[in-house]
Assembly symmetry: C3
Homo-oligomer: 471 residues x 3
Amino acid sequence: MARAMTLNPDRLLPPDAATREVARRLYAEVEHLPIISPHGHVPPAWIADDVPFTNPTALFLTPDHYINRILHANGVELSQLGVPVGSDFSEQQSREAWRIFCSHWRDFNGTAMRYWMQDQLCGIFGVDVRPSAETADQIYDQVAAQLATPAMRPRALMESFDIAFIATTDDPCDSLEHHEKIAQDAGFTRRVVPTFRPDKYLEPAREDWNQLVDALGEAAGVAVDSLAGYTAAMENRRAFFKQHGAVSTDHSHADLGTVRLDEVDAASLYDKARRGEASEQECTLLRRWLLTDQIRMATEDGLTLTLHPAVRRGHDTEATRRYGADVGNDIPVKLEVTNALQPALDQFGNHPNLNLVIFTLDEDVFSREIAPLAGWYRSVYIGVPWWFIDAPESIMRFKQSVTEMGGFSRVSGMIDDTRAFCSIPARHDMSRRLDCAHLADLVVKHRLDEDEALDSLLDLVSNNPKKVFKL
Amino acid sequence: MARAMTLNPDRLLPPDAATREVARRLYAEVEHLPIISPHGHVPPAWIADDVPFTNPTALFLTPDHYINRILHANGVELSQLGVPVGSDFSEQQSREAWRIFCSHWRDFNGTAMRYWMQDQLCGIFGVDVRPSAETADQIYDQVAAQLATPAMRPRALMESFDIAFIATTDDPCDSLEHHEKIAQDAGFTRRVVPTFRPDKYLEPAREDWNQLVDALGEAAGVAVDSLAGYTAAMENRRAFFKQHGAVSTDHSHADLGTVRLDEVDAASLYDKARRGEASEQECTLLRRWLLTDQIRMATEDGLTLTLHPAVRRGHDTEATRRYGADVGNDIPVKLEVTNALQPALDQFGNHPNLNLVIFTLDEDVFSREIAPLAGWYRSVYIGVPWWFIDAPESIMRFKQSVTEMGGFSRVSGMIDDTRAFCSIPARHDMSRRLDCAHLADLVVKHRLDEDEALDSLLDLVSNNPKKVFKL
Amino acid sequence: MARAMTLNPDRLLPPDAATREVARRLYAEVEHLPIISPHGHVPPAWIADDVPFTNPTALFLTPDHYINRILHANGVELSQLGVPVGSDFSEQQSREAWRIFCSHWRDFNGTAMRYWMQDQLCGIFGVDVRPSAETADQIYDQVAAQLATPAMRPRALMESFDIAFIATTDDPCDSLEHHEKIAQDAGFTRRVVPTFRPDKYLEPAREDWNQLVDALGEAAGVAVDSLAGYTAAMENRRAFFKQHGAVSTDHSHADLGTVRLDEVDAASLYDKARRGEASEQECTLLRRWLLTDQIRMATEDGLTLTLHPAVRRGHDTEATRRYGADVGNDIPVKLEVTNALQPALDQFGNHPNLNLVIFTLDEDVFSREIAPLAGWYRSVYIGVPWWFIDAPESIMRFKQSVTEMGGFSRVSGMIDDTRAFCSIPARHDMSRRLDCAHLADLVVKHRLDEDEALDSLLDLVSNNPKKVFKL
């Protein structure tokens, strides 16, 4: 017989009775507040075209590299899951993929993926049996049937999830047509904005860098045969994004290096890179300079920067060749912040127009570098623990590490950074529960009064994201 | 008057009443399961010859560098403890050493060594007074008297400890005569197998490397005047170990570096090293290549690899000169995994015949590198926190760090890695108690149902070690 | 209406009822023990001249970079707070600065600064309303009025705080006249001693190094035109400090590097540096050699060394230019200990006359390097988590990390390292509460009996500081 699966209203709250009481009271105050999602990866076309989701595999498995990687480690081929997104995958294959996932349910015990999935299946789709080989078809049918209803289309879900604001992530050359379409629909009032992600245009070491820069020049209508032209093209596209509602730019490089260069040296380095003559070291130097210049631009146009450094992408080259990027084999590396950001912070760190949000995959820098920097520089905000560490215990370690040094005023508040649309409420709810658990602990240890804890909770859930992203 | 010493049945379980109840129920299910010890350092001669232990000093102090190092820091000379093992040490000296240890009992407060020692003294020998200068003789006599009984011989203890499987660690040139003797005794059914530990044969920077390689060639009956010969000799000895029951090989180098080399380049590097002409850098390169080739061999013969990197051995050179290796002054250094293992994992990481178990002394890599790698590559398993960090709080940090990213399916389960024979049950029991504490926390936070927690517990205690070491 | 502010007697103690009971009993045993403060930054003139504090801004804000940095990050100019110390700052400006601080009270929620400030305002000055823009004046007046009373002068506070021993931090060229004045006052029996801090005299890369060395020579009455002279001057000043009661020397460099150099090479390197011809690398080498030689000197004169490495000072160069050093923009960097200290420890690490206390801002080295080193070398003691991490959760992480490897005998006990005079009791009380919380947890997990926990508690609070600093 199938085992039941339910959502306990106290999930993630502290087991200690006195602490739990405080946490419950705090949670009741924020449980139903609107979701602000200032950085993530939901495709804007989904919302623009209100594309219905087809089945649980397409919704939950194929695009989610968190799920894919654990299944891969446990012997599943990514092709069995429909990866890469957009490959030809039949209804029968989707059903089979779902059965594979449900058969591996136990492999997710104790993970964040399990927590989110349970929250979504129970909370959105009313599933009440535990996934297994035996219950896979029943759950598949139940979810698929609901996905076919109007209530489960992206726009209706944005309403029922109460997502007040959501940012997508977009290429600098993107026409932003989807965003335009959404904006022109007066009947849809949820705010959906693009995010400017210029990463690859800042990487002279890429084989396709010259073509990318050419395309950027074309999109901007600016000649890019000099650094001045490149800079003008970037500023042009940032302005275009800002006109379409963008509030931030997003940056993920191998390290956080910034640098101050003489204008002439920078221009000559650019020329060399364009001619394909720059060494690996010079490419890195130029990339760091270009990132530093993005920070300079931000002091002028006011777009917030989110910094997501230090992942080795495509660690498994054969899997990358077969399935493309972002399929689960990106692996974190060490991060250094204090020295890397010094050149840029020394120049711009207290600029009134600048907001920098630093994410990390490296717990080592929580208390050693990120919190101390955010506790001095006005532009620096502590982002959230990112990706592999956006899980309950990791998040609590993060909170307990950075808060004592920086206080609640220096953190960005929850940023989900996800492409898994239906997981957005689960992720924000998880974050709120953990905020409450952390604050309740401060209350029962008599470090805060309960009304103060509530003030800080509201900062985390609402005020800080609005301040940091200038909403 | 002497203070009492007892073992509380709830030791290490969570103090919160509700959580403790869950933990107790879980623990009851695994408390008495057989011990699987797939990697450790018990000398096989002890079991082959069923050598009786002589007195508590010889059993607990002289060979245990965990104990030695704390006593050394607190002013005791290692010679007062009978170090090095095998030195001439009288009954009177042993009794005096035991008194020294008992006088320093307080210095062990809060340590793992204290926990294990209390568990052994109370649990195995029925000691019920707290060690101190005053009680030292009484305890010495009580333990020594019991050690003289047949019930305290190694084989009888293996039965009463219910050790179903134990692996020793052995030199590639070892004749494995002790293992043969054990295997030939039909009356003794506990499984005792060797482990192939080729470390020093992979270190061209060692002064004695040439002699070691010559000895390897001799043991294998293969000429080692070329890399091909060396490789054949290694494969030959691995096969010999496998015939004698070995399930794994063990590797502890200064870093985890692997590398892909052209066959011709590797052969020429080997020749240069054999001529004593390789630079330090070339020696490191060759060592990394030889380790990479051990991984290749493992894909063929199926022996699991355990990787124990990043310790600076013999930090105190004078102590090392006087007392030899492994006496307590090896000190951990930083570890890097993501880039170091990439060349080998890229080539072999998903090979169906390969299992790699990564240990660490560096907590920094728990969530940043090891868990993400194990959450993708099929061959990679998360080992246990090792040596200095195989203590209750450290282990809980480890569990809370790696589980959320990798799940329970990607961890090896308990590996005691000890030479302290009588501590084996205490170590495995500690591990089981902490498994229960961790899982109970997930249950009371409503992240797992209790029956799911039990499933994962059984994986940790029994199923995973059997899977990872192919038992 | 103003909200109340009180001090709960159970603050920081564990919320779990059973654990809290144990912690309360332990705390009762140490709550009122005298404070031993073996390293800190209180100006000796305050005590020598018994200078009255003038107002809460001068007492709590202007000199405290912990407070300053959070206010700076939240938009306050340091000049609004009277920084740098000694700048012209009117009563009206002080009152306004206090209002700014009180208005930002919420920004300190969850920080250590908030905890200490609440403890001081309530515990010393009887403030019972929560700081805010509205209550700022009332609190200012209440504190200022009390500061004007004899009971609030430094010497009276040393009595009421029960500070039995306090060390200041002093320049090697200092005349120590303040200490002499204190010593000559037979009516004041609290022990106040200097600490020898030669940092800058060991940094050949400093622009003013030659002048510093000249000044050192002058102070010592020794020619410093050779390394032998420099060494003699150092030894002379160390002896002078020791005659004035010093028990330790303090060292804060960019890293912990030590080195063994041939005497001739060292002398020649010194000459080169004195001629201004040493490269950056040579300056670093010489600095490491000079630090190593301080350790050698310590084996002779017996002064304990405290090591405070790995901060990037003056990260914000403009702020440093305007406000000077130590105003809140020093940012930690990575620390490496195992290899850095090996040359010195290998030579002196077990010397009976040597005590080294290692502090860190880098949590990464708690369990990986510092505890293992202290668990072997007799001279090495684990200092406290320093500066950014001297906060409740950070301290608990520290305790849970180092204790299991090193035991309680290898830690220095509480060192406040503060210039905030009135925070000394709050900091030591916080430390004692956390000691009790940690030990109570060991008791309820049955790892220690309660009387053993009390033994270790007394070691931490009294015995270890006396042993480590030879009081």
